[in-house]
Amino acid sequence: MNELFLAAAGLIILMVAIGLARILRGSSDVEKLMAVQLLGTGGIAALLLIAYATSVPGVEDVALGLALLAAFATIAFVNLLDAEQGDTGA
């Protein structure tokens, strides 16, 4: 059972890695924000799977924190990009 968790976690980490490579090589700034979003979902899933397979206690709290922070970082980045467009566009 644990091996299956780890296999799933490995697959998800691989997918996150491919996605990150794609996003961080991308041209536009806004697209790069998706990297944080990707880690906010895929990262948390892999984290939960690995932690359950290796029985690390209290990992749900860490995952909760990560979910909150991924949203927080995205808000902050979008916020500043928006502000920048406001400066030049309007």
Binding site: M1, L4, F5, A8, L11, I12, M15, V16, I18, G19, R22, I23, S28, D29, V30, E31, L33, M34, Q37, L38, G40, T41, G42, I44, A45, L48, L49, Y52, P57, E60, D61, A63, L64, A67, L68, A70, A71, T74, I75, V78, L81, D82, Q85, G89
Partner: protein, 95 residues
């Protein structure tokens, strides 16, 4: 009962991993930023939900199980809203 739960876990987690796979395929194959954003936020959120569902029977306590559900709900909320935010920013930057 145990085997039934195990089958449930295996099915849910495999399906979850598949959706992450699908999300990444979308990220690589879709032509423009907005549809890539769509693939990323929808498929991956569903994947995380299925993984959390599959881990539910293995949770130590009722509180842990509740937290797994809250994690998913939180990601659902933040993924949907940040997708809106990123999409807006994408549209503005294209103009």
């Amino acid at each position: 009962m145990i085997t039934l739960l195990n089958v449930f876990s295996i099915t849910a987690i495999s399906a979850g991993a598949f959706f992450f796979f699908a999300g990444t395929v979308g990220l690589l194959r879709f032509p423009d930023s907005l549809s890539r954003l769509h693939a990323l936020t929808k498929a991956d959120t569903l994947g995380l939900g299925l993984v959390a569902l599959g881990l539910l029977p293995r949770a130590d306590s009722a509180l842990s199980a509740l937290k797994l559900i809250v994690i998913w709900a939180l990601v659902l909320l933040s993924a949907a809203s940040t997708a809106q935010l990123i999409g807006r920013a994408l549209r503005q930057s294209r103009r």
